[in-house]
Each structure stands twice: as structure tokens, then as C-alpha cells.
């Protein structure tokens, strides 16, 4: 069975260094204003603040894929969500549908001109010949075809950001939680998982 590629960000480890954002921009040479990945900090400056690194989550049931009027978004065999920039019309429907704000648009101009959508590719390029110049220019580097993981996850100093096969990184995360003795002190965790008193 092929892998299903996912990201997990351990909020207990993320230190808001923005190394992942820098690594992504450097690896994919994205233009000014396009941030495929960014770090969000909740309760910034207050005790107990938490940071999480956010990008495309490569959803299994991706809403962007469902709403795209030109059907330019697809899943690879490994569950990575990619898109064809030649087919994209820059309508922005995917941006509205995405719950994580992943789709980015490189231009702002007259008549709401936005340019072609750009988003995290899990460093897997796009529908061009793998590791070609055309692929790099349109989608960035294809590290997955080189047998490597996304640059953001591999360079993470605290290993807060994990990328790879969902089961494998889930096991790494579980081991951490078991070792430190508590789960993520995450916003919404109690709402989602707190057992109600009988």
C-alpha cells in the first residue's frame, strides 16, 4: 500500500522560529508575498502561547479539489494534493474553500487579477517532467522524486514539524506523547476530547 503523505506540527515543540517558512521559500524560490507555509501563534505574548506551522494539509477529502471549476487539482498516488498551473484560471474558489488558507496568489492588480494559484506541494513539484527546469519554475523543487522529505520538515530544529507517511509520523508523535506523559495542550482539545461527567 502506498504512503499517505501528511504533516503534523507538535505545538509543544514549535518555538516560532520561522525556519520552516524560510526553508520553504528558499527551496521553492517563491515570489515576494507568496508564503506556502507560515507560523501562527495563538495568545502571543501571554503565558501558555502556542505556535503551529501551517501550510496545505494535503487533505484526503480536499475541499479545494471539490470546488475547482477547471478541475486542475488532483491527488498523487501518495495522497499529495497538487495542481496544474496551466489549467488554473486564478478564480480563488480554492482559497475560499480551504480551511487552512493554503492557496496563495502571487499578484494583486486591476480587476482582481490574482495570477495562478500557488500552494505547498509537499516538495513534490507538479505535472511536469520530474526534476525538470519547467517543473521548478512553476512548482518549485521536487524533493519527493529525489527520495527526500519536504525541506520545512527536514530542517525543523526542534523536530516540531514532521512530514511523511501518516502512520509513520503518527507513531513518532505517539511515542513523544507517551514519553512526556501528556498530549498537546492545544486550543479546542478539551472541547473535542473532554469526557463529559456521567
Amino acid at each position: 500500500m502506498s504512503a499517505r503523505m501528511k504533516f503534523i506540527c507538535d505545538t509543544e515543540r514549535c518555538i516560532d522560529c520561522n525556519g520552516c517558512v524560510t526553508a520553504c521559500k528558499n527551496e521553492n524560490e517563491t515570489p515576494w508575498g507568496v508564503n506556502r507555509r507560515r507560523v501562527v501563534t495563538i495568545n502571543d505574548g501571554s503565558p501558555g502561547e502556542l505556535s503551529v506551522s501551517m501550510a496545505c494539509m494535503h487533505c484526503t477529502d480536499a475541499p479545494c479539489l471539490a470546488v475547482c471549476p477547471t478541475n486542475c487539482i488532483y491527488h498523487t498516488a501518495d495522497g499529495i494534493v497538487l495542481h496544474d498551473k496551466d489549467q488554473c484560471i486564478g478564480c480563488g474558489y480554492c482559497s475560499v474553500a480551504c480551511p487552512f488558507g493554503a492557496p496563495q496568489f502571487p499578484e494583486t492588480g486591476l480587476f482582481a487579477h490574482r495570477g495562478k494559484m500557488d500552494k505547498c506541494t509537499f516538495c513534490a513539484g507538479g505535472p511536469e517532467e520530474d526534476m525538470s527546469e519547467a517543473e521548478f519554475k512553476k512548482y518549485g523543487r521536487n524533493r519527493i522524486a529525489e527520495g527526500k522529505l519536504p525541506a520545512c520538515a527536514e530542517q525543523c530544529a526542534t523536530k516540531a514539524l514532521l512530514g511523511g507517511d501518516a502512520n509513520a509520523i503518527g507513531a513518532i508523535y505517539k511515542e513523544r506523547v507517551d514519553t512526556r506523559g501528556y498530549g498537546p495542550e492545544l486550543w479546542g482539545w478539551e472541547i473535542a476530547y473532554e469526557r463529559k461527567p456521567k
Binding site: 504512503a3 479539489l65 471539490a66 477547471t70 478541475n71 486542475c72 487539482i73 488532483y74 498523487t76 498516488a77 501518495d78 497538487l82 495542481h83 496544474d84 496551466d86 489549467q87 513534490a124 507538479g126 505535472p127 511536469e128 517532467e129 520530474d130 526534476m131 521536487n142 519527493i144 522524486a145 529525489e146 527520495g147 527526500k148 522529505l149 520538515a153 527536514e154 523536530k159 514532521l162 512530514g163 511523511g164 507517511d165 509513520a168 509520523i169 513518532i172 511515542e175 513523544r176 514519553t179
Partner: protein, 75 residues
């Protein structure tokens, strides 16, 4: 306005209005079942790994394991 004049107007405009409907074109594109319509992508292991998925899987699995620092030292 005389009745003859009205009849003449109806006789002239009536067919035009009726024929106007003939210019209507269907506005709904055919349903495509949401299938991907862009360029075909090749598989990740085809270029760099000589079309060997096992080799590629092993390389990726090795990198994934590398993210687990507990394998090097347990706290």
C-alpha cells in the same frame, strides 16, 4: 389605434418574438464527475529511482525514521 394596425404589428412582431427563442443556447456545461482535467503527472519514483517503487519507498522511510530523535537517544 385601429384594429387593423394592431393586427399588422402583431403579425410583424409575433414571429420575431417566437423566433427569438431559437437563438437560445444551453447555458449548462455537461457534468464531468469532477475528474482531474489537467496534464498527467508521472509517479515520483519513475525518474530518479529507475522506476523502482521499493527503492523509493525505502529512501523515504529512511528519511521519516530520521525525524525520530528517540531512535538516537531516549530521554
Amino acid at each position: 389605434m385601429s384594429a387593423g394596425r394592431s393586427l399588422r404589428r402583431i403579425a410583424l412582431l409575433g414571429p420575431l418574438l417566437l423566433l427569438g427563442g431559437c437563438l437560445e443556447v444551453p447555458q449548462y456545461p455537461p457534468y464531468e464527475n469532477g475528474a482531474y482535467a489537467g496534464k498527467k503527472d508521472n509517479l515520483q519514483f519513475q525518474r530518479g529511482f529507475g522506476n523502482d517503487p521499493e527503492k523509493w519507498n525505502a529512501a523515504i522511510a529512511q528519511r521519516v525514521r530520521g525525524q525520530n530523535e528517540y531512535l538516537r537517544s531516549k530521554p
